[in-house]
């Protein structure tokens, strides 16, 4: 049976060149970059090369890159770290309702600790309005944290405009760019963000490889104190092989970004057209144009997401869903509810994220399978039968 991974944001295989770059650092070059003897030399040099590659990908300076083990950690270091260094300046933080839980859950905790948090709403496409940001900023605001792109519905925020607003009022801006880096042209320097989180596993690097960009003029405090690794902002022996993998993935992404974006956008649009033209009762979630080139999010009316996911899994097609049943917390996606999607449509959401392995010749099979799976589940859905009766009565 065919196996088609359409859940690349959850996990995708390493690029061969990435794995190849990593391997010697598990064995031959096992040394510790902090060592005074020569065993540390090659790893230290490789680590700094990786840092430079990540910096180049987002147009930053190498010393502005702090390696972490996940984008969640980078988000925690950004927010908690900045607050710890700027507490005297105020107690107000602004973010948005569609952020990742590694931002939202921190803010809940900070609220309990006495911080005031404003979560900006989004429109039907998931966009934050810069004017609303402008109105929300007070003289007590010490941080704005808004994602570069949404990992679920793919909507790309007007980051330049949002940062400009914060900058004009002297408030530092953090962006969770985990879903965006490697898939959009992001220029940290030009955008003017103070802090930016990125994740290597989103663009061909290994899991456990991530980084926080901390602009030269931004002061933060570490979460993990100890040695002086990562300029004292993240203690602990560096995970050299993983970070070498991150560096290689960043290097490849920077070299081929334009081509990747173009190729993926074309494939995404082909898949979108095929599904919309052949599968009835589909609704596209997220922005129709301003979206990540590898992201598609649909709601399939009248049916539930986990049942779709399991049926597609039986056909060798792997996807995600924002339904209650697929979440550990048994709550449907906060992002879909924030864009105003009714509960029955949120329950029927499917997330497709494309990767390098996907190709156009998979589209007919994906389309056929989704069509038959949705049809089968729709025929047993009380919501669909109710809808048919209503249509009959109106006729």
């Amino acid at each position: 049976m065919k196996k088609i991974n359409l859940d690349n944001a959850a996990a995708s295989p390493l690029e061969p060149a990435v794995l190849e770059a990593m391997l010697p650092f598990f064995t031959e070059h096992f040394g510790n970059p902090s060592s005074g003897h020569e065993l540390g030399n090659v790893p230290r040099k490789a680590l700094e090369e990786a840092r430079a590659s990540v910096a180049r990908l987002i147009n930053a300076e190498p010393r502005e890159i702090i390696f972490t083990a996940s984008a969640s950690e980078a988000n925690n270091l950004a927010i908690k770290g900045l607050i710890a260094a700027n507490r005297v300046k105020g107690n107000h933080i602004i973010s948005s309702v569609v952020e990742h839980f590694s931002v939202l859950n921190q803010l809940k905790t900070l609220e309990k600790e006495g911080f005031a948090v404003t979560l900006l709403p989004v429109d039907q496409y998931g966009l934050v309005n810069p004017e609303q940001l402008d109105q929300a900023i007070t003289d007590k605001t010490i941080l704005v944290s808004i994602q570069a792109a949404n990992p679920e519905i793919g909507t790309i925020q007007p980051l330049d405009d949002l940062v400009k607003v914060a900058e004009s009022k002297g408030v530092p801006f953090h962006t969770d760019a985990a879903a965006a880096v490697g898939w959009t042209h992001l220029d940290a320097k030009k955008t003017g963000v103070a802090l930016l989180s990125l994740a290597g596993d989103q663009f061909g690097g290994p899991k456990g490889s991530a980084a926080l960009y901390v602009s030269k003029k931004t002061r933060i405090r570490p979460l993990i104190e100890g040695g002086i690794q990562e300029r004292g902002l993240r203690a602990g022996t560096e995970n050299v092989p993983i970070l070498v993998g991150l560096g290689m993935a960043a290097k490849l992404a920077a070299e081929t970004l334009a081509e990747r974006v173009k190729k993926s956008s074309i494939l995404r649009d082909q898949l979108k057209e095929s599904l919309i033209n052949n599968v009835p009762y589909l609704h596209l979630n997220g922005h129709p144009e301003q979206r990540l080139p590898h992201n598609l999010n649909f709601s399939v009316e009248f049916v539930e997401g986990e049942a779709l996911l399991l049926r597609l899994n039986m056909a060798g097609i792997y996807v995600s869903s924002g339904s209650s049943c697929t979440s550990q917390a048994l709550k449907s996606s906060h992002v879909l509810s924030a864009i105003g999607l009714p509960p029955e449509l949120a329950q029927g959401s499917l997330l497709f994220t494309l990767g390098r392995q996907n190709s156009a010749d998979e589209i007919p099979y994906i389309t056929d399978q989704l069509n038959s799976v949705a049809d089968l589940l729709r025929k047993m859905s009380p919501l669909y039968h109710q809808y048919l009766k209503e249509v009959q009565n109106n006729a």
Partner: protein, 131 residues
């Protein structure tokens, strides 16, 4: 993927007795789209026995498997026997359900009981069901 038993996957992959009985003797509905699961059971009763049972289900793998299992368990039973089918028994017959699915998706017996109660009400009898 949730940790579903082979029996759950069997009933999910090949659900039995799907549909809606025309002019049913009893109708029972539970759940709503907010929680993610909805079940609608219809029954046909003859000589105090469930002659036929069908259901429509909007929900996850567990909800579909539960509906299918309940329909199999109920068919041919007397109303009193069918009222004794509990959600717990259904889960046991399915070889267990993941912990977080026990409450939200395991509503099949409730929907069946509602259908029987609906029938009994129409007949002017009060029902006592297991939960």
């Amino acid at each position: 993927m949730p940790d579903y038993s082979d029996k759950v996957m069997d009933h999910f992959s090949n659900p039995r007795n799907i549909g809606e009985i025309n002019e049913p003797d009893g109708l029972g509905e539970v759940g709503n789209p907010v929680c993610g699961d909805m079940m609608k059971f219809t029954i046909k009763v003859k000589d105090n026995r469930i002659e036929d049972v069908k259901y429509l289900t909007f929900g996850c793998g567990a909800a579909i498997a539960v509906s299918s299992m309940v329909s199999e368990m109920a068919k041919g039973k007397t109303l009193e026997e069918a009222l004794k089918i509990s959600n717990k028994q259904v889960a046991e017959e399915l070889g267990g359900l993941p912990g977080n699915k026990m409450h939200c998706s395991n509503l099949g017996a409730d929907a069946l009981h509602k259908a029987i109660e609906d029938y009994m009400e129409k007949q002017g009898v009060k029902a006592e069901s297991a939960t």
